[in-house]
């Protein structure tokens, strides 16, 4: 309690005075709740930042900036509502404002074959001569790094939609709030993003000889 009082004194710059107890107590409670609840989500948010910025140094800056804003705005967060969604909204806005401008879009490696071919991975595997057993079996043979690379190769808006839906499990409505777009746009980006991801995975699998050329 006295620690909070000292902090309030130092910030105001005035002479020694006793901070009103309710304010100091409320600040302390807010800080404790933030530490307990928001910090627990750091591994998830850091992963999201890595997928978005595609490099660890920018990811750390993004996370730090996000948590700084989150802490400052935490008084406005409605307890009991979805904290992860709230944090992701801050992360997304921070990313779009600060980092997206600096970064070029990922250079999408041209895929040999029909550019308009956006069949699902399931359908491609179903037609592949090398795939003898059920299509799902070959999925386990894709290296983890290929999956991450496939996601990170997507254009920003597609990558964001797939990340929020398939990695973090948000609903369409939550994703719409996080991205600041209508639900219809979310559904479109998600569908196209998943197809692009699957096409990228198909290319990886061809390169590794898991499927025929």
């Amino acid at each position: 309690m006295s620690e909070d009082a000292e902090r309030v004194e130092g910030r105001s710059g005035s002479g020694p005075r006793t901070a009103p107890l309710p304010e100091a107590a409320a600040l302390g409670e807010l800080r404790d709740r933030f530490e307990r609840d928001a910090l627990a989500l750091l591994p998830s948010l850091y992963a999201g930042a890595l997928r978005l910025t595609r490099n660890p140094s920018d990811a750390e800056d993004l996370v730090q900036e996000t948590f700084l804003r989150a802490y400052r705005g935490f008084g406005g967060f409605e307890e009991g509502t979805n904290l992860k969604a709230w944090l992701y909204r801050i992360l997304t806005n921070t990313f779009i404002n600060a980092y997206r401008k600096r970064q070029r879009e990922p250079a999408t490696v041209p895929v040999s074959g029909d550019e308009t071919d956006d069949r699902s991975l399931f359908d491609r595997l179903a037609e592949d001569s090398l795939t003898e057993s059920a299509e799902a079996v070959v999925l386990d043979r894709i290296p983890d790094e290929d999956v991450r690379a496939a996601l990170e190769s997507l254009p920003d808006q597609f990558r964001l939609a797939v990340l929020l839906a398939d990695v973090e499990g948000f609903s369409y409505r939550e994703i719409a709030e996080i991205m600041g777009t209508p639900v219809g746009t979310v559904m479109s980006r998600l569908h196209r993003g998943r197809r692009a991801l699957e096409k990228r995975l198909w290319v990886s699998m061809r390169e590794r000889g898991l499927v025929s050329d």
Binding site: A47, E60, Q64
Partner: protein
Amino acid sequence: MLRDLELFLDRELPDVECRRVEEHLAACAPCMGRVEFRRRLQVIVARTCGEESVPPELMLRVRRLPVERPPD
């Protein structure tokens, strides 16, 4: 049906539609195979692209934020 399957997998179908799809899947092996494939892929994407161990210095810096800068 394909579009419904995607909504079904995302748990965005109303209950009545959801049950209709479940009934269809029970009777249609190709569609069930497609659904199981998509589920498996989603699990893989979530596992490989999700939670990452946080670098210790980052954890320290973020933990220090509340102590150094109280909310306005």
